[in-house]
């Protein structure tokens, strides 16, 4: 950038220190997952025994499987609901419930998790009393809860993409004889596809990550991975959690590398 070249070494140092702060804990997680010693912080030689232990822990495996299913289902619902919400807000012009929808779709982003969790649980309990559904708490209630706040994130991502797409593309399709629904699938959807994919991934990650809301709305036998991990680490550090963290980090890095490669291979859309 112009005019600040003299400060470049200082700026580079700031960025470097910032990244050390962000990544040092993550690196240490990975390093100590291969530690022979039970003491997470004292190096006792290389070992993969904590991975073996992790894969023998049926509680963690079961929770991970629940979490993955909850995350996939809630991310899919969130993407659909969020996309429709964003589309309505950006493309529909004024309608009566617009302000209400706009408020509801952004509010979950800034709402403390404890409030969302508490309020949804109270709703589920009272709905069960009134109409018998949902009967008890479990995966279904967690999926609904996660889909709701995931939809808010999805709406934001899709909204900004919709706002920057060229309106005349949709008009051109209509001008050439395509009816509105057709226009949406032929033109709008391909245009916002990258946003839909990031929305889904974002909602998936948020669901996989959530402890507080899930703790409120889950029932017996539907503990998610974060809930199990939380109860474990509350009692102190345990190396198999490090092993779990390492696997998560490896998977995320892999996904990001694949995504980056795909993005590079595909020609720019605009």
């Amino acid at each position: 950038m112009r005019g600040v070249s003299r400060h470049r070494p200082l700026l580079a140092l700031i960025v470097l220190l910032g990244f050390v702060f962000l990544y040092a804990p993550i690196v240490s997680l990975v390093v100590f997952s291969f530690n022979e010693s039970r003491l997470v912080t004292v190096w006792g030689g290389f070992s993969t025994k904590w991975y073996v232990e992790l894969f023998r822990d049926s509680q963690i495996l079961e929770a991970a499987w629940i979490s993955l299913r909850v995350a996939a289902a809630s991310a899919s619902i969130a993407t659909v609901v969020g996309t429709l919400g964003a589309f309505v807000l950006v493309r529909f012009g004024p309608f009566r419930s617009r302000a209400l929808l706009s408020m509801m779709i952004t509010a979950p982003l800034v709402m403390p998790e404890v409030i969302i969790g508490l309020s949804l649980l109270l709703l589920f309990i009272s709905m069960e009393g009134l109409i018998g559904w949902p009967s008890g708490r479990g995966m279904m209630t967690i999926i609904i809860a996660h889909a709701t706040f995931g939809a808010a994130y999805a709406a934001v991502v899709v909204q900004s993409r919709l706002a920057e797409t060229d309106l005349s593309l949709e008009e051109a399709a209509m001008d050439l004889g395509a009816r509105p629904v057709r226009v949406f699938f032929d033109v709008t959807l391909p245009g916002i596809m990258p946003a839909l994919i990031s929305s889904w991934l974002l909602a998936f990650t948020l669901s996989l990550d959530d402890l507080v809301i899930a703790s409120f709305v889950s029932g017996p036998g539907s503990s998610t991975l974060p809930m199990v991990v939380f109860s474990k680490v509350r009692l102190g550090v345990s190396p198999d959690v490090n092993a779990l963290a390492t696997i998560v980090i490896a998977l995320v890095s892999l996904a990001i590398i694949v995504a980056a490669l795909l993005m590079n291979r595909r020609r720019p859309m605009r």
Partner: protein, 315 residues
């Protein structure tokens, strides 16, 4: 994170048949209404009920008795929050911890965002991705990682002792310091991203103009860059402050027995004491406390759109 333009744009939405339009609007409206808005009203309702040893553990707010509606609003739960010093202390403690953490996050995040925005264009996206990357890995596991760093035989103490700088381990875990660190660490990307978006848009010609008119770099920063990034500062601070007030996991894992934040109070009230009305009252008050910051956030996020919509019909 904004509510669209003041008016939606585009002929596509207008061209949709009326009943189809209604259907498309109904899906998000009903979903969010049922699973977001109604639950809130429900919390508000329960916060006004009398606790009871029953299932559910509170008395109904209204009842039909002999053909008349018997409405009994109970503000006792709110009075209880004021009378019991614990709640007031927890609210103040939460605000204090959130405010201090937000300030530290700003002091770390601003230089980083500035440095990234001023780095060569080709490198900016990579740096930005590195900022976001930790966010995609588990939040819980990242907080957990700090336990290994901070405990008495953790990485920091071991390193300092090996270097001979200290003889006895420092007490880092279960302190306010650990909580600040956890919040700053977790929410740093939320500070950097809006700041970066703001600073990257800053026209370099403005800085040159300032220099050309005789301002030294620090003066330029104070008189041009800083005022123009005010919006990003407010947005970033609110994005850190608001969730930090209600934070539960970080104080639970890194804080000590004295660290009393309101999220944990609500949690205990609900799960340990099973006092739903008081838990609901705690939630309602927390929301009232946060309304001001939330409005502030909405304002800074909504404003830039107004300019975009003006250009809508440049015939």
């Amino acid at each position: 994170m904004s509510g669209g333009g003041p008016l939606g744009r585009g002929a596509l939405g207008r061209a949709l048949a009326r009943n189809r339009r209604r259907l498309v609007i109904a899906v998000p409206l009903l979903w969010l209404g049922l699973f977001f808005l109604v639950p809130f009203l429900y919390v508000a309702k329960i916060s006004l009920s009398v606790p009871a040893i029953a299932r559910p553990p509170y008395l109904p707010l209204w009842e039909w008795k002999d053909g008349t509606l018997d409405l009994s609003l109970n503000f006792g739960n709110f009075l209880f929050l004021i009378q019991d010093r614990l709640y007031l202390a927890a609210y103040l403690e939460s605000l204090r911890i959130a405010a201090i953490s937000t300030l530290i996050t700003l002091l770390i995040g601003y230089p980083m965002a500035y440095a990234i925005a001023r780095s060569p264009a080709g490198r900016r996206n990579l740096l930005l991705m590195l900022v976001i990357l930790p966010f995609w890995t588990s939040f819980l596991l990242r907080v957990y990682a700090w336990i290994g760093f901070l405990k008495s035989n953790g990485v920091i103490n071991n390193t300092l002792m090996a270097l001979g700088l200290i003889d006895t381990p420092l007490v880092l875990m279960q302190t306010d310091f650990a909580v600040y660190l956890g919040i700053v660490y977790t929410y740093l990307p939320f500070m950097i991203l809006p700041l970066y978006a703001n600073l990257a848009r800053l026209d370099g010609a403005l800085l040159e103009a300032s220099a050309d008119l005789g301002a030294r770099p620090l003066t330029t920063f104070a008189t041009v860059t800083l005022p123009l990034s005010a919006r990003g500062i407010v947005a970033g601070c609110m994005l850190v402050f608001i969730p930090a007030v209600g934070e539960f996991v970080i104080p639970a894992l890194l804080g000590g027995p004295d660290t009393l934040m309101i999220g944990a109070v609500l949690w205990n009230e609900f799960f340990s004491n099973r006092d739903w009305p008081v838990a609901s009252a705690v939630a309602v008050v927390m929301l009232l406390v946060l309304i001001l910051p939330i409005m502030l956030l909405r304002r800074v996020q909504a404003a830039p759109e107004a300019d975009a919509s003006k250009a809508e019909d440049a015939a």
